[in-house]
């Protein structure tokens, strides 16, 4: 008997190294932030990941389909039609409503984690000379300032899409997410009020300035001047301008605009370079406050929302420029010397003068208004740098500030300035601009100008939400030819669909969440 157990024990010994069967270390797995974030350089790598989280392409995509920017393209195979996105269909399962909410709170979650880790690193005793230690602490503080601005930006974007009434301080806005949060999955936040979110964004920007020598330190990056592809002092001011345009704080707009440095609307030439395929001079383009750089291996591709293959007449155009938008762009200047025509309308487009008399098939085959704004690059056909914030956007906010104060003639001047900056006029030619004789007309002019200036840049939806009623706009209106086969002609300005629904995943998980009206 003893023998048997002895032999069995020997067999056991064959497999005795049993713990290695279940205690397995996978190579390269990092489970603590202290394993990877140990210097200002590491933190900068953490910030890099935040840039990649901004759903800029899907915003442009969504806004173009859900507003009156698009028309059905020559090669449409049901895109936008079968799923209802071109037909103003919106419910809590909407893809963009979900991805914006999720991505932005993800950015904030990571921002809060970075802030927490930066504080740990600041508190940690360091070795080195006093100068070295000071340099590292300064760098950490600047990084922290950047993260604060990121957090403010994310809150501003969420505020803009999910808040029903910007001007009612006690109205429901979004979740104020100002705390370090790791894996307590049972924490449920309420929607904060409009005034709480506004002051939170203001505080974050202020904190960022105080950490970065009033913002000056933000613009120094590794010994050279900051590129507009990173968070900068200008971006911080821009966030506040965008916020105050919604909450109607004219003085806030004017003050922050005055603090923007080194930027202007540029010229017709610099404007046309903004959207050129070559992407040259974007670092120094006067109009560009913040762009998201897209490199060949980054994936995605903004023009893929409308095109397959590449942006060219012989490629597949699912969607084209809506006729109602085209007519606006087309009327800017009789000889198309307002460069917004060239930037928006692809050169290979074919314009049917008598488009209204064509039948549906011929209209689709012969009136070819190709979208040329995001043309892709010579390296990646459908992908371009995203022009996230332009100075012109902020400058037109100044017009909004004047309209808020009833100064409609100032608005007229600003519109004229914008048009002048976009036009390449021959001797003796003068720029066309609207004559404005009431506040309502001022709002209307701003809305119209923004429509052509920021076509296919993801602005139209919020512009209508913010300005539509004041401008007396009927809402989104497509040309009858663009809705002949799908009966999706217009969406009134008063629709609840101008506020996005709180996504289903949040409604389902968070007992404190309140849905927006209409959904």
């Amino acid at each position: 008997m003893k023998n048997k157990f002895f032999t069995f024990a020997a067999l056991l010994a064959l497999t005795v190294s049993c713990q290695d069967a279940y205690e397995i270390e996978q190579p390269g797995y990092r489970t603590e932030d202290s394993q990877i974030f140990n210097s200002s350089t590491d933190i900068a790598r953490g910030i890099n990941a935040l840039y990649n989280q901004i759903p800029a392409e899907s915003e442009i995509n969504f806004v173009s389909y859900f507003t009156d920017e698009l028309g059905v393209g020559r090669d449409n195979g049901g895109q936008g039609i079968n799923d209802g996105s071109y037909r103003f269909f919106m419910n809590p399962g909407n893809g963009f409503a979900g991805s914006l909410w999720n991505n932005m709170y993800n950015v904030i979650n990571r921002s809060n984690r970075l802030i927490h880790r930066i504080d740990e690193l600041l508190a940690k005793p360091k070795t080195g000379t006093d100068a070295e230690i000071k340099a590292e602490n300064d760098a950490l503080n600047v990084a922290k300032a950047r993260v604060y601005i990121f957090r403010a930006y994310a809150h501003m974007k969420l505020f803009s899409y999910y808040t029903t009434d910007y001007k009612n301080g006690s109205a429901l806005s979004v979740i104020k997410f100002d705390f370090y949060h790791t894996d307590d999955y049972t924490r449920y936040e309420k929607r904060a009020t409009v005034s709480e979110i506004v002051s939170f964004i203001e505080d974050d920007i202020e904190t960022a300035f105080s950490l970065s020598n009033g913002g000056a330190a933000l613009d120094i990056k590794e010994g050279s001047t900051s590129n507009n592809n990173f968070i900068s002092k200008n971006v911080a001011h821009a966030i506040l301008i965008k916020l105050y345009a919604m909450t109607e704080n004219p003085q806030g707009i004017l003050d922050n605009l005055a603090s923007i440095s080194g930027k202007n609307m540029g010229t017709a030439i610099s404007f046309s370079e903004l959207f050129a395929k070559a992407e040259t001079g974007l670092e120094t383009n006067p109009d560009l406050v913040w762009r998201l750089v897209r490199l060949p291996n980054d994936g995605g591709g903004v023009a893929g929302a409308w095109w397959a293959g590449a942006v060219a007449a012989n490629r597949t155009a699912y969607m084209e420029i809506g006729r109602s938008l085209f007519n606006e762009i087309n009327s800017l200047h009789p000889q198309k010397r307002d460069y917004r025509y060239d930037a928006t309308v692809l050169g290979e487009s074919v314009i049917a003068a008598n488009y209204q008399s064509l039948n549906a098939d011929r209209y689709r085959a012969e009136d070819l208004l190709f979208i040329g704004k995001y043309k892709g690059t010579t390296e990646v056909p459908l992908q371009s740098d995203i022009k996230l914030i332009r100075y012109t956007d902020l400058y037109l906010a100044k017009a909004e500030a004047h309209a808020m104060k009833g100064e409609y003639k100032e608005v007229e001047n600003i519109i004229k300035e914008v048009r002048t900056a976009r036009s390449f006029l021959l001797d003796g030619e003068v720029v066309n601009f609207p004559t404005i004789s009431s506040v309502r007309e001022a709002w209307e002019a701003i809305l119209k100008e923004r429509r052509v200036e920021f076509a296919f840049e993801g602005a139209r939806y919020l512009d209508m939400k913010r300005l539509g009623v004041k401008a007396g706009s009927p809402g989104f209106v497509r040309d009858p030819k663009d809705c002949e086969l799908n009966d999706a002609c217009s969406l009134p300005v008063t629709t609840f669909k101008l506020t996005l629904p709180i996504p289903r995943s949040e409604m389902l998980s968070n007992p404190n969440m309140v849905q927006n009206p209409g959904y």
Binding site: K4, Q26, G46, D75, G78, G93, D361, N486
Partner: protein, 1018 residues
């Protein structure tokens, strides 16, 4: 050929030598234990091919000498070898081969018991069913053979690994749902068996209830399929066997009622007021399409073919006193019905078993080496109109013709520009010319076992198995292809791309045991203790590269490689390397008690540790108890004329599922931990650090508890026989998605929560309608009913719906239940679509709240098969039908064939002619301009009853008599023809009613196959 000739010569020579010895005439009768003569049995002089068949009275006559040994063989009986004595009469009694009958044995990895002593729900399929079928994988052959086993292939790719095998209903939501496969004691890493030769399989035991599966603890939760390959027996002469099949496969038909060219042009004219306009100029300078008289392009012939398949297996088995060997080699070449797809396979398998003279020490080794080359279809099931052949072949505009594409990129572009998306078949012709995906797989399964019987009560053993697999995947897209150029950058000069991935998996399993058994009087007890160790390693490397010189390019190779240059990075290859390790450790024991083969009790207990879990959740404990009562062996049944078998079984127990993410043995390690990742940088920064995964520390095993009650029965000398099982199978601690607030950085995390339950009945019945000497007719049927129910959901609402998905999950509902608007017809006034709202009223603008639980799912409630077996003299015929009922699927193909946006872009169904207009108000399809059209695809309008009855296979053949074969020196010859999937009765409109998906779009359908087979024994 030459070697075969030599071999026959040798035999002949042996005969001559034999003839020199003194001979006498020996006669005898071959009969059953009951004394019934067996006509047609083969009597063979061992060591020669000399022999004869018994006559009508079971008699044989041979010239033999004393000391000669003869072997008697008859199908369904165990071969018997006897030695010639001085007597000239030698009668032989054959006993029924239990492995082919109900009262046979049951095999699992750890124990083998006779059927009467088995207490568990186990179904056995033998080589008789598997051998010689023209299926690339034995999984397909198993279809319809085992009650409760739902096998849906869902793809016609030969050897496709997407086949879903589900036993007794879905037991998990996100985890692995398929059974564990164990081949000759070696647990397999995956269910991919395209490299294995089905003809090598001796038997398959499907273990269903906890009594049978608890002993597989960590992976037994979804059932276990134990595969035993063929082996030889000791003291047997050399047997050489050849099995060959040649067949042809055909594409299944569809019932979409698609338009032809003329119908389409007429429809377009009616719908749009004008005929279609696109055109292309032919070589004669004229337009190639005449819209007044359009010709049809035969796209089906461009992409599909009548595919030829052949399988050959040659096996050798022999045994001496202490050693036996079985060796087989196999070769298969199976074409897919989609051109360019197919599977070629080479198999080698050998096993060697030895024992000591006293039989105390036994050992065995099995080595198999399998190599397969697959040419695979890509993008099936996707909406990629330049990628999916199954989409383009049918959705292409019917008036386009293959000759409009002349084999160049320019030609593809010209067609695209002329016809837009409608030109998809041309783009696919271009793809077929330039593109491919190849997988070369080498799989080797090696195991060795050693057993030692210490005394009559004690024995111990160890078993070591290795499953080693390498896969090389090579995909290519030629430099002249449309797809490489259309999507290229402006200033790119060189086109074309390749991708190469090498993967290597090695799984080592070791099992050691000590067993004890004792019989005292009518009591017998067995017990065993085991330890099991598993360690698995995975390595992969890959390279992707763009830019090849067309002058040097060859499809399927990487020739014409353009190097990286300073100008740009287009041609720089990208590479990746990966490594993973997995492991498990277990110890377990089992004990069984039997009293007089009347009562029995089995107990198993197992402790398992998995690398996937930590802390107190690392170890799982699983157990089972099962018992039986063999009523037939009770005195009161002894005189029964009616009952010939009657046994009650019951079992209860648990098993675990550690593969909670369903990603295979290697996937999802470290789910319990926060993970950070290093990834794509931003702008001029090469690197970015980010949070990669949130932790779920308390992850644990999914646990399945099964209760099973079964009855095995046989009536009238087993003329009517079968079994019934009733079960309840409940999965607790389900690994499923728990919604999270977005502040966590993600909107859901998977954790253990909730339960689902499967309850059902399984029935197997077989009856010999005729059981005569010359004629037997057997009818057989099996069926199962499975009710799947979700018990609880991780939120207060009691249901989970993503907000856009077609299916959702609710407490009390079924898994995969469709959650859609209920279509209420077309509004005759305006042609808008209408739906029932939550109050039952009709609405044109339903909201989320109006979605309905339809009680319909893509998993069948009823399924099974029935068939008939006829043997008449040497002829045999077999037919088998499979069915599934109460199964629903969303027909996405039909959706595209009925979209107004498809007009001018894609082919459509003639059904669509019935669309709403002011002159056709009572229409099937809505107003093409209806404003609420998009709700239709969220309604049950496209949900289709996919129940079916399919003639799974029919076989007709002839078994030659030994006596007729003597002149060919053969000991057996069997020829047969068979047809698979010949007819399907279903409401489903698509090519293949059988699918494992809830939504189907342009998939690779399983083909119809007709084949011819031959089985020769030397």
């Amino acid at each position: 050929m030459r070697s075969k000739f030599t071999w026959i010569l040798t035999l002949f020579f042996a005969l001559i030598v034999q003839a020199g010895f003194a001979q006498k005439q020996v006669t005898g009768v071959v009969k059953t234990p009951e004394g019934d003569p067996i006509p047609g049995a083969t009597v063979l002089l061992v060591g020669t091919n000399q022999g004869t068949d018994t006559d009508e009275e079971g008699k044989y006559t041979l010239n033999l000498k004393k000391g000669d040994r003869i072997q008697v063989v008859y199908e369904g009986f165990k071969p018997s070898t006897v030695t010639v004595s001085d007597s000239s009469v030698l009668n032989v009694t054959l006993v029924v081969d239990e492995s082919t009958e109900l009262d046979g044995i049951v095999v699992d990895t750890y124990r083998t018991v006779s059927k009467p002593k088995n207490s568990n729900a186990v179904s056995t399929v033998t080589s008789k069913t598997i051998e010689g079928r023209p299926n690339a994988s034995f999984i397909q052959t198993l279809q319809g053979q085992v009650p409760g086993l739902n096998i849906s292939t869902g793809s016609g790719q030969p050897g496709d690994n997407n086949t879903t095998v589900i036993l007794r209903g879905l037991g998990s939501i996100n985890g692995n749902v398929e059974p564990l496969y164990v081949i000759d004691g070696v647990p397999m890493s995956s269910d991919r068996f395209r490299s294995l030769n089905p003809n090598d399989i001796d038997r398959i035991d499907v273990l269903k209830d906890a009594g049978a599966t608890a002993i597989y603890g960590n992976r037994g939760a979804n059932g276990v399929i134990v595969i035993t390959t063929k082996r030889a027996s000791f003291d047997s002469s050399l047997q050489v066997k050849y099995v060959g099949t040649t067949g042809m496969s055909f594409l299944q038909d569809n019932q979409y009622n698609l338009m032809n060219a003329k119908q389409y042009v007429d429809f377009h004219r009616k719908f749009r007021g004008t005929p279609p306009a696109g055109n292309i100029v032919g070589p004669d300078g004229k337009n190639m399409i005449d819209y007044r008289n359009p010709k049809d392009g035969n796209w089906v012939d461009v992409f599909f073919r009548d595919a030829i398949a052949q399988n050959h297996t040659l096996s050798f088995s022999s045994g001496s006193k202490n050693l036996n060997n079985y060796t087989s080699i196999g070769y298969s070449d199976i074409e897919g019905v989609l051109k360019t797809t197919g599977l070629k396979r080479f198999n080698f398998r050998t096993n060697l078993n030895g024992k000591s003279d006293n039989g105390k020490l036994t050992y065995g080794t099995t080595v198999s080496a399998n190599f397969s080359k697959s040419d695979m279809a890509t993008s099936a099931g996707t909406a990629g109109l330049n990628q999916n052949y199954f989409l383009g072949a049918f959705q292409g505009l019917p008036y386009l013709r293959p000759e409009m594409y002349t084999g160049t990129y320019e030609s593809a572009m010209a067609n695209l520009n002329a016809f837009g998306n409608g030109a998809m078949p041309m783009l696919l012709m271009d793809k077929m010319r330039t593109h491919g995906l190849k997988q070369d797989e080498f799989k080797s399964i090696v195991n060795g076992s050693l057993n030692y019987a210490i005394d009559s009560n004690w024995s111990m053993g160890t078993n070591l198995g290795v499953d080693y697999q390498t896969i090389n995947q090579f995909s290519f897209n030629g430099p002249s292809s449309f797809n490489s150029r259309y999507f290229a950058a402006d200033d790119q000069e060189w086109f074309g791309s390749i991708g190469n991935v090498d993967e290597r998996r090695m799984i080592l399993t070791s099992n050691s045991n000590i067993k004890w058994n004792k019989t005292f009087g009518k009591h017998s007890v067995n017990a065993g203790a085991y330890i099991e160790y598993l360690k698995a390693h995975f390595k992969s490397s890959g390279i992707n590269k763009e830019g090849f010189d067309p002058n040097f390019w060859e499809n399927g190779k990487a020739t014409g490689w353009i190097g990286d240059s300073d100008k740009n990075d287009y041609y720089a290859p990208s590479a990746s390397v990966g490594e993973q390790t997995a492991g498990m450790f277990s110890y377990f024991g089992l004990a069984s008690y039997d009293y007089d083969t009347r009562y029995g009790l089995d107990v198993t207990l197992r402790r398992d540790a998995s690398f996937r879990f930590i802390d107190e959740n690392r170890w799982g404990t699983f157990w089972s108890v099962s018992g039986r009562w063999n009523l037939i062996n009770e005195k009161f049944m002894a005189d029964s004329k009616v009952f010939s078998d009657f046994k009650l079984r019951a079992s209860h127990g648990t098993a675990g599922n550690q593969d909670i993410t369903g990603s295979g043995i290697f996937g999802s390690a470290y789910l319990y931990s926060t993970l950070y990742s290093s990834g794509r940088g931003y702008a001029d920064e090469a690197n970015a650090y980010s949070l990669g995964q949130l932790p779920k520390r308390d992850l644990r095993w999914e646990e399945i508890t099964t209760t099973n009650i079964g009855l095995d029965y046989g009536f009238f000398n087993n003329r009517l026989r079968g079994n019934i099982d009733v079960y309840r199978k409940q999965t607790d601690d389900l690994y499923q998605s728990i919604p999270l607030s977005a502040i966590n950085g993600t909107t859901a995390i998977n954790g253990n929560f909730g339960s689902i339950r499967n309850e059902g009945v399984e029935l197997l019945i077989a009856g010999d309608i005729v059981r005569k000497k010359d004629l037997t007719i057997t009818l057989n049927a099996n069926g199962s009913y499975n009710k799947n129910q979700v018990l609880n959901i991780p939120n207060e609402e009691g249901f989970i719906w993503s907000g856009s998905s077609l299916t959702a999950m609710r407490e009390g509902g079924r898994l995969g239940e469709f959650y859609l608007y209920e279509f209420a017809g077309i509004n005759p006034q305006n042609g808008e679509t209408q739906y029932y709202d939550k109050n039952g009223a009709i609405t044109e603008n339903p909201t989320d709240e109006d979605r309905k639980w339809l009680g319909k799912s893509s998993l069948p409630v009823y399924q099974g098969s029935f068939g008939i077996d006829v043997n008449y003299k040497g002829f045999f015929a077999q037919a088998n039908f499979t069915f599934a009922k109460d199964i629903w699927r969303y027909d996405n193909d039909y959706f595209f064939f009925t979209q107004p946006s498809s007009v001018g872009n894609a082919n459509m169904t003639n059904d669509y002619l019935d669309y709403w207009s002011t002159s056709n108000r009572d229409a099937t399809f809505p107003n093409p301009n209806a404003n609420n059209l998009y709700h239709l695809n969220d309604s049950d309008f496209y949900l289709q009853d996919a129940s079916y009855i399919r003639m799974r296979f029919v076989t007709v053949g002839y078994n030659f008599k030994k006596s007729d074969l003597a002149f060919m020196k053969l000991s057996g010859l069997r020829v047969y023809g068979q047809a698979e999937n010949l007819v399907t009765w279903t409401k489903w409109r698509g090519w293949d009613a059988e699918s494992n998906r809830g939504v189907d779009l342009s998939q690779y359908p399983t083909p119809r196959t007709v084949s011819f087979g031959v089985e020769v024994q030397f």
